[in-house]
């Protein structure tokens, strides 16, 4: 069932993500081509579009995250989603995995397009620069790379869990029509509460991390986010499994 849920989550979202990826890459190529052909006016136009779209990818991803975890769970589409014989944890895992993969792809495509654009327009040898950076990092401590990657992954899992919990809580506490307004208020309230809990449990995060090695400090941050994420996912599971109410 989990495999099928993930498959259909991808079917539900690829028509939104893939065209935007193609648009970003195409605009990067068009900008480069027109610039190289000394068509500075058209090139400038495409470049502006490219930067606008590349910058907008972050908002685009957050918007899709909201649609995937909010509207498609607690809106009318929820009547289809919750009529299927899937367990609550399977629905949650399918949503988390799919959104995680799309976020990673979005970052990769956006950064990749930007690097391609930069290397071709200003003739920056991006590959040798990257290899220098990588060599330098490897030279310092391979463990730092692993720790940074893990921290990034855990932060993404935390972000998805945060939105998942936010919408579950919104569904639990508010039945009215002003869902967007109340959702925004709830976002700041939950963010404040989570930050406060982190401070109370771990003291000042900075103090907690002080005295650790570079990699140790990064692992410490990852551990904090992981613990908070587990809490958010467990709360979301409880609300969805025991208290959910479609309107």
């Amino acid at each position: 069932m989990l495999r099928k849920l993930i498959k259909h989550e991808f079917i539900a979202s690829y028509r939104i993500y893939l065209p935007s990826y193609v648009a970003v890459v195409l605009l990067a190529l068009l900008s480069v081509t027109t610039f190289r052909a000394n068509q500075s006016l058209i090139g400038g136009f495409f470049m502006s579009l490219f930067f606008l779209l590349a910058g907008g990818m972050a908002f685009f991803t957050v918007y899709n995250l909201i649609v995937s975890l909010g509207q498609r769970v607690y809106g009318k589409q929820g009547y289809l989603l919750f009529s299927i014989p899937a367990k609550t944890w399977q629905i949650m895992v399918a949503k988390a995995v799919t959104n995680l993969i799309w976020i990673v792809c979005t970052v990769a495509i956006t950064v990749g397009s930007f690097l391609m654009f930069t290397s071709l327009v200003i003739s920056w040898d991006v590959f040798s620069s990257l290899s220098e950076v990588i060599t330098e990092f490897i030279g310092i401590d391979p463990g730092v790379w692993v720790a940074m990657g893990s921290l990034g992954l855990v932060q993404l899992i935390y972000t998805i869990g945060f939105f998942m919990f936010l919408f579950a809580l919104l569904n639990l506490v508010y039945k009215g029509e002003k869902k967007v307004f109340i959702g925004i208020l709830l976002y700041f309230a939950v963010d404040y509460v989570v930050t406060t809990i982190i401070s109370l449990i771990f003291g000042s995060t900075g103090m907690f991390l002080e005295g650790l090695s570079d990699a140790g400090a990064i692992w410490g941050s990852a551990a904090i986010y992981l613990v908070v994420s587990i809490g958010l996912y467990l709360l979301t599971y409880f609300i969805m499994d025991k208290k959910m109410e479609l309107h």
Binding site: G78, Y79, S83, I84, A86, D241, M244, E245, L246
Partner: protein, 234 residues
């Protein structure tokens, strides 16, 4: 006959408003049951609880002898009172979704119903009219060989021609061994369908009897009885 649904002291509150109040029901398999009552009587609330869309209630609910779970959802084919399609969806996506999620979904039956409803299967759902979207949703529900069909207001707000198509399809295309629970407040053209009726008023079960007994006891049609019970009669 076996029991497909049992509720014990089922109570549901929306804030201070009592939507269902100590509802005790036992529904037998293989029957067509009308869930009747005016707007706000608790029909949709009861259905949402049976289908697992609403989990905040007190009392007990059993489907086929077991509490509501993902297993009970596999037995139920549910037509909600609203359209649940995603705007991105094509009919083929929806058919694939149903085939993957429900072992009892019959693609051939779905294709037959689409043909009967004159709905092309290659187009985006958002391009269909509201009436065709309702028919599409009905086709999905009836393409399952489910043990228990639940229809929430399937004929509410549709024109008489479509209403007749919907009712004919429900009766002719259902799994003949299955139970049907059909909620409506428009009973003038559905009363002959029901083996049993449940009258629900302000969250209370006023009556749950075979239709023939209701008609025999009152000496009136189901519609007249309904009007009298709910004091709509002049």
């Amino acid at each position: 006959m076996s029991e497909i649904v049992r509720t014990q002291y089922l109570t549901k509150l929306y804030g201070q408003v009592v939507a269902l109040d100590d509802v005790n029901l036992s529904l037998e398999s293989g029957k067509i049951i009308g869930l009747l009552g005016p707007n706000g009587s608790g029909k949709t609330t009861l259905i949402k609880i049976l289908t697992g869309m609403s989990k905040q209630y007190t009392g007990k609910v059993f489907i086929n002898g077991k509490p509501i779970s993902n297993e009970s959802k596999a037995l139920i084919s549910y037509l909600p009172d609203q359209l649940y399609f995603d705007p991105w969806m094509k009919i083929a996506d929806l058919a694939l979704f149903m085939k993957d999620m429900f072992a009892d979904f019959d693609p051939a039956q779905f294709a037959t119903l689409l043909k009967r409803f004159k709905i092309e299967d290659r187009i985006h759902i958002r391009k269909l009219s509201k009436g065709n979207q309702e028919k599409l949703q009905l086709a999905l529900v009836l393409s399952r060989k489910a043990q228990f069909y639940i229809f929430d207001e399937p004929i509410g707000g549709v024109d008489p021609a479509l209403r007749q198509i919907i009712l004919d399809t429900i009766i002719n295309e259902r799994n003949p061994e299955a139970t049907i629970l059909l909620s409506t407040h428009q009973i003038y053209d559905v009363e002959s369908l029901f083996d049993e009726v449940i009258f629900l008023k302000e969250g209370h079960v006023l009556l749950h009897q075979p239709t023939s007994e209701v008609i025999a006891a009152s000496g009136k049609s189901l519609l007249e009885t309904f009007k009298e019970v709910f004091k709509y009669a002049a």
